[in-house]
């Protein structure tokens, strides 16, 4: 070992990176390939509780499990932790529900080119949320470490910055080259919520287009709730084994939820509803107005279908499908 000074981030580690703890959990978890069909309400009751650490699939406004996040708000689940791994509309929703008190942040409070979420910022500027800083790459690799059954992965990112300082990474030396690396602790969430294109009732899932980190998130998480545009047969899954992104043993509940990523984009299916997302940003300017907006769209909707109806129903969905296919 050379005499290089090795640094440590001072950020809080919200989850244990101990691979043996997860191994012990998975040893006892049933891997039976049974029927896991559920409903949004049942799945949230059964698998998400106050204080859990969440990982949300997709990319903020692309292939997100909106119905499940709405249910968390409706059921007033609080004190969650979550991975802000490009968390845009999902971060906005969790902020609207005041659902969390800690966050591993790589990308939060913004909606990419659409602008910043005033209400998410209020949440993060309040001093009531504990934040540990990371990068998109770092959170991807933290999930990957967990998916690989490792307590950490080395990387060459974050070095020399305040992002590192406010992270919980630790500098290590490569034992072969003595290069300085940032060791990233494995991230094992309590619950993952992922929206997919197709799944069978056992939880074997197919995703079209980019995966973001969802293959790794599913393996890294103790419990996994899947919403899917469509349920398909196990025979159809077995027709193309290379297309299975998430295998059944990772999954605890499967819910058929067409348009489940609305108002987000679902690649190959429907484009994002930019008007509604703009309305969200507008409503956030004023806290009273936001309360009313959430009351109307989420709290007073008995389920996600009602939310879809309030936003134009089948006719709107048809338009978003047309927008996806560029005509």
């Amino acid at each position: 070992m050379s005499d290089k000074q090795l640094k440590k981030g001072i950020g809080e580690l919200f989850t244990s990176p101990n691979a043996d703890d997860m191994r012990a959990f998975l040893k006892d978890k049933s891997k039976q390939m049974k029927n896991k069909l559920s409903s949004v309400s049942e799945a949230i009751d059964q698998f998400v509780k106050d204080g859990d650490y969440l990982a949300i699939g997709g990319f903020g406004g692309v292939r997100i499990p909106t119905a499940l996040i709405h249910e968390i708000i409706r059921k007033e689940i609080k004190n969650l932790g979550f991975a802000g791994h490009v968390s845009t509309h999902d971060c906005q929703l969790l902020s609207a529900g005041k659902s969390f008190n800690r966050c591993d942040a790589a990308y939060i409070v913004g909606l990419e080119a659409r602008g910043l979420s005033k209400n998410s910022r209020r949440m993060f500027e309040s001093g009531n949320v504990k934040v540990t800083e990371w990068t998109n790459g770092a959170l991807s690799w933290r999930f990957k470490a967990a998916a690989m059954g490792l307590p950490y992965l080395p990387s060459r990112t974050m070095l020399g910055t305040d992002t590192f300082k406010r992270s919980a990474a630790i500098e290590v030396e490569c034992p072969f080259t003595q290069q300085k690396m940032a060791a990233l602790p494995a991230l094992y969430p309590d619950v993952a919520m992922i929206h997919v294109h197709r799944a069978d009732v056992h939880g074997n899932c197919q995703i079209d287009g980019i995966l973001v980190a969802d293959d790794d998130i599913a393996k890294a998480s103790k419990r996994v709730i899947i919403t899917t545009e469509k349920i398909i047969s196990n025979e159809e899954i077995r027709r193309e084994p290379s297309k299975t992104v998430i295998p059944y043993w990772c999954v605890d509940a499967v819910i058929e939820m067409p348009y489940g990523s609305y108002p987000g984009n679902m690649p190959g299916e429907y484009f994002s509803d930019e008007e509604h997302l703009a309305d969200w940003l507008k409503a956030e300017k004023d806290e009273m107005q936001l309360e009313e907006f959430i009351g109307h769209h989420i709290l007073s909707s008995k389920d996600f279908y009602e939310y879809l109806e309030k936003n134009g129903g089948m006719n709107k969905m048809r338009k978003l499908m047309q927008a996806e296919h560029l005509y």
Binding site: L116, R156, G209, L211
Partner: protein
Amino acid sequence: MENTYNPMELMITIAARNLEDGAMVVVGTGVPVAAAMLAQMTQSPNLTILFEAGGIAPLLPTMPISVGDSRTTHKGLKATSMAEIMELCQAGIVDYCFLGGAQIDKYGNLNSTLIGDNYEKPKTRFPGSGGANDLASLCWKTMVVTPQNKKRFANKVDFVTTPGFIEGGTSRVDAGLPANTGPYKVITDIGVYGYHPDSKAMMLLSLHPGKTIDDVKANAEFEVIIPDNYETTVEPSELELKLLREKVDPSGVIIGRG
């Protein structure tokens, strides 16, 4: 005939010219993707565009609204994961990335995390690194496109989200970041900047037509190195402007911002 153009059009054009044919570039939405598209339509038909969410080399039908939306894989060569894109950068495959930020200092360090001096209770919270820190750490050359003013060109950024040359000199490599990487150019509405080969401090490369050294100085809190032999920026050509306005951004989403 002299062309009229706005600062945004100028910045995009300059950015596009910096992307040579056969290069690989990771882009975000807005200016970077517009620049990459313009480059493909001009000197660099074989420019490979990557999006950090997983899209590789799409035939972009229109500008994406998210670096993960379905446009980013439209007739693409590969659709993959964010980890894989970052790993390609880490492996040394990717030539360029484009970044922005609320603040930049003279060594090219960027802040996109917060304003204020209390991390626990920031005055203003921004999105954070996203992929910026990764891309700037791992790609060969980092380009920054930003409007220039004294607040943005700061003596000291409130938070080093993303590494530039850290404290200058060899401090970037000393921190453990890969050799021969780092800030490459900063393209603003006033000029184009590079970095001094030894001190790694920001240095004027070219001044936009109509801009002065006083403009440079008045819009930077830190002292920008002004060499004797800086150039005057070549204005956008008619063809570049036509392509930008008619093909790249026909609805003026980006260039309409001025």
